[in-house]
Each structure stands twice: as C-alpha cells, then as structure tokens.
Amino acid sequence: MKLGVLFSGGKDSTLAMHLAEKHHEISCLLSMKSENDESYMFHTPNIGITELQAEALDIPLLTGFTAGEKELELADLKDLIENAVELFGIEGIVTGAVGSVYQASRVQKICAELGLWCFNPLWQFDQIELLEKLVNEKYEIIISSIAAYPLDQNWLGRKIDSKAISELKVLQDKYKLHPAGEGGEFESLVLNAPMFKRKIKISEYEKEYSNHAGVFIVKEADLK
C-alpha cells in the first residue's frame, strides 16, 4: 500500500514512518505550516527543517499552509491529503499520534471521509519505552521547544539520550511531566534516523527563552 506520512520532523512522526515502512511503501511526507504557534494539531517549531529532512530521507514532501484556526486547520489538512492522493496515489495516512485523542480522532475523521486507511503505529505506546526505542535505534534527536515547568533553557537543543531519559523519568515521578512530551511539554527535532540517507548538521541556531517556555531556532543547517 502507498502511504503518506503526516510529518512534523519530530521524533514521533519519524518513528511512526519507520514502523510503517516495514510493511508498506512511503510515497510522500505531508507537513503543515501553521501561522499559529499554539496550534492544537500541528507541531510548529522549525517546521521549515522538514524540507531538509525530506531531502535526507529522499522522499517527496508536500507542504500545506494554514492560519492555524481551530477546526479550520482541518480543512487545510484535508486539502493537503487530497493533493497527496491525486499526486502520489496514496491509500492511507500514517501519523505519530501516541495518546492525543484530539489529534488522532480528527485525522481518523478526514481519512474516513476520503476512504483512506489511517495508521497510528505508536498509539498508546508507553512514553519511556518510546524514548528508549529511539535511543536504542540510534536516532539523533534534540529538544526544539519547551513549554512546561520545571524544564528550563538547558533543555533547549539538548540531545535525547539515556541520561536525558533518566532525568525525564525523575521529572515524571516528581512533577507528573509526560516524559515524551505527550502533554505538549516539549517538541523535538530529528537530525538523524535509520531511514535518513544523510544527517542534518546545524551550523547556526538561536534560543528564545522565558519562564519555562522557549524555542531552539535553527538558523542554518545542511546535510552531511
């Protein structure tokens, strides 16, 4: 089956693609650029890097644009998926949804309306096991934004490795923080992964931070 992946460039959509690729053909990546930083549906920091990631993966990327208004952004997503059906003949969509009923049910509705399969291979995955799987499979991932106490500016741009996972476990026990960021505590950016043919090298970045909220902005990056 030919599939399109809803791709944000973060750890979940990349791992979901990797799992889907074991069973089906990944024909294209679909990314939504939202003007709303607070979008409920779309992961926004560094979404421009998806172009570089698509090049690293050697998979075509379709980009959609949305003002990011609640529910209206779904019509924009539906348009993007319809374009992918027309251009690539996809029969299904893959998402990186883990536990968000809000996100998953909205994509499920669009797929049901369009007669497409909807695959959520990480659905209900334990968050610590998910992080450990990524590290074991040699994913190179950094934290690209934070939005929860007690995460501070030291987490911006930090690599997710075994030490970071141990610290996230402590924060989970002490502050009920979702260790894989499932509650929106942080977003991630994948620099290298098993399906990448080349890795992303960041040469210039900037951090914006205030009161446990911040973004790691990639100013310049290329493939090596």
Binding site: M1, L19, A20, K22, H23, H24, G92, V101, S105, Q108, K109, C111, A112, G115, L116, W117, C118, F119, N120, P121, L122, W123, Q124, D126
Partner: protein, 173 residues
C-alpha cells in the same frame, strides 16, 4: 489465567494500534497468546478467556470469517469494536452503517459504571440484538452488550483508550 487475544486486523501495521495496547495490558498480569481471527476457532478451547480486538475503520475483511465456533465456546469473551460486530452477527444481529469518531458519552451500566466518556472509532454499528441485553449506549450507537445466557460481552468503544478498567473488570469477572 490464560487469555487468547484475537486480532481482526487484515493489515499487520494496524495491529500496532489495535492489538498491541491490549497485549500490553494483559501481559502485565496474565499469560496470553495472540492469534488472527482466522485461527481463533482452533485455539480458543485452550484458554480461559478470549478478547477479540478492533481494527482500522477502513478494514472490513474480518466480516468474511466464520464465527460459528463462538456459539459453542463456553468461555467468557469480550469483543471490542469489530469484535462486538462479530459477536452480534454470530447471534443473529446485523451490521449497519453508523459512524462515530472521537470521545462520546456512554450511559447505562457496564461492570458497575453508569456514565463515562469513551473513545469511539467506528463506521459500522449493530442492530437486531434480541439475543443480547443492551448494557450501555451513546447518543448514536449501542456501546455495550451482554449475551442473555452466555458470558459474552461486546463494547463498540475502545476501552484500551482511557477505559482500561473495562478490560480489567472483564478479566476479574
């Protein structure tokens, strides 16, 4: 306790979404074996309880299987989504178009719970349920049934999402 977990997925990738969460819940405390619906008849007698898992809304292949074995199986069964459809069809019910996707309010009584929010993900519903007691409904659909004389339950919603207690209560019952 040995639980037979039955996959109704025609696509292996869907099993990660609809079967693995059930396996993860059961395997914490019980022995289990996972089989595809086409193999369930041969295996079901060796187990204490059977859980028939759901599948993707795009997947209707499970309806092509023969479920007559369920009639002679004197073991407790819980069918989830496509599982409730299989159970209903086996005992005289019919499958009808009925779409619900997202969180819905469920009212009635299921394992002692009278009202709760549940995750619905189906485009088929069930009707003509004279062999069953209807335990709970949402605004649009029958959400939980029990066979009138057998320990056979079905839920249309997905208990593995936010209502894991349904699976623990079924196992305990």
């Amino acid at each position: 306790m040995k639980v037979l977990i039955v996959s109704t997925c025609s696509d292996k990738l869907s099993e990660l979404e609809f079967v693995n969460p059930i396996v993860n819940l059961i395997s914490k405390k019980h022995d289990y074996e996972l089989v595809n619906i086409s193999d369930a008849e041969r295996k079901s007698v060796k187990f204490d309880k059977v859980i028939i898992c759901g599948t993707s809304v795009a997947d209707n292949d499970y309806l092509q299987n023969n479920f007559e074995w369920l009639k002679n199986l004197n073991k407790p069964v819980l069918g989830i989504c496509s599982g409730i459809q299989i159970i209903a069809k086996t005992f005289g019910g019919v499958i009808i178009p009925k779409k619900e996707i997202g969180m819905v309010e469920v009212k009635g009584e299921l394992f002692g719970q009278k009202k709760f929010e549940a995750y619905a993900l189906h485009t088929n519903g069930i009707s003509k349920l004279s062999a069953f007691k209807i335990l709970a409904r949402s605004k649009k659909s029958v959400q939980a049934i029990k066979h009138k004389s057998k320990e056979i339950y079905g839920v249309m919603f997905h208990p593995e999402v936010r209502n894991e207690w349904v699976i623990s209560e079924f196992i305990k019952a």
